[in-house]
């Protein structure tokens, strides 16, 4: 049964391959397993396992269309993290710091 506990979400996000899968689904939603695998340096089996972890964390939603399973990035749990950990900690100051860092880094040769 899927759960929404925040530690499951953090655990799912802690892996670079899983973050890459989320990035792909963010760029293009509704991909099949085959489409998700194409161009990736991961076996189909590894992708399947990562998708199971992401689904367990409710970060990926699956919709059936005929015989195909389409995968979608579900941002709701990440928004919950945002509400819990970021918004209440003075978002404006964090934004200012982030902008400052971006500006400094751009100046580098």
């Amino acid at each position: 049964m899927p759960v929404t506990r925040i530690d499951v979400v953090f655990k799912a996000l802690a892996d670079p391959s899983r973050r890459e899968l989320l990035d792909r689904l963010h760029a293009r939603s509704g991909l099949t397993l085959t489409e998700l695998c194409s161009g990736l340096d991961m076996t189909r089996q590894a992708v399947t396992q990562h998708l199971a972890v992401l689904q367990e964390a409710n970060l990926v939603a699956v919709r059936r269309q005929g015989r195909e399973k389409l995968h979608y990035f579900n941002p709701v749990p990440i928004h919950e993290i945002y509400e819990r950990w970021i918004r209440k900690f003075e978002q404006q100051r964090l934004q200012a710091l982030h902008d400052f860092k971006t500006k400094l880094e751009r100046k580098r040769p």
Partner: protein, 149 residues
């Protein structure tokens, strides 16, 4: 085979009845949807119009559309468009809200498709906030400040 749909899923510690009422009763929507109300003058009957209105004293209409499917406490499908494009059928988007009991929780899935870029921008900002607020409202009685920047 990718499509333009957005799928949002949230698990809420509550009952299907409460989720259903929270989606359809203006008095309740107003509390967690940043003072916006979902309004139907025809009890959400299929084929009738609905509207999404700001409780700003002026009753500004934010979205309008038609009820496409209504399976009480399970599934509601609405067409959904900016009121300024209401005359143009091609601009109508579609929202399906599916309610499923999972153990002691409710899985609420919102699938929004037939989107143009403008509507996509609006909903990707709006839905995660609204759904988190709905969850918080139903679980703790306290909604979130949905439109805060």
């Amino acid at each position: 085979m990718s499509d333009d749909a957005f799928v949002y899923v949230t698990y809420i510690n509550t009952t299907p009845e409460k989720v259903w009422d929270a989606l359809l009763e203006g008095e309740l929507t107003r509390q967690y949807w940043g003072a916006h109300e979902n309004v139907s003058d025809s009890d959400w009957k299929v084929g009738t119009k609905w509207r999404h209105v700001a409780a700003d004293g002026k009753g500004t209409v934010k979205h309008v559309g038609e009820v496409l499917e209504n399976v009480p406490k399970r599934r509601l499908v609405l067409s959904w468009v900016n009121p300024e494009h209401a005359a143009d059928q091609a601009r109508y988007t579609r929202v399906a809200m599916d309610i499923e009991k999972v153990g002691s929780m409710v899985q609420l899935t919102v699938t929004h498709d037939r989107l143009d870029p403008e509507m996509r921008k609006r909903i990707t900002y709006g839905w995660p906030r609204v759904l988190c607020s709905l969850k918080s409202f139903l679980e703790t009685g306290r909604p979130l400040d949905v439109w805060a920047r």
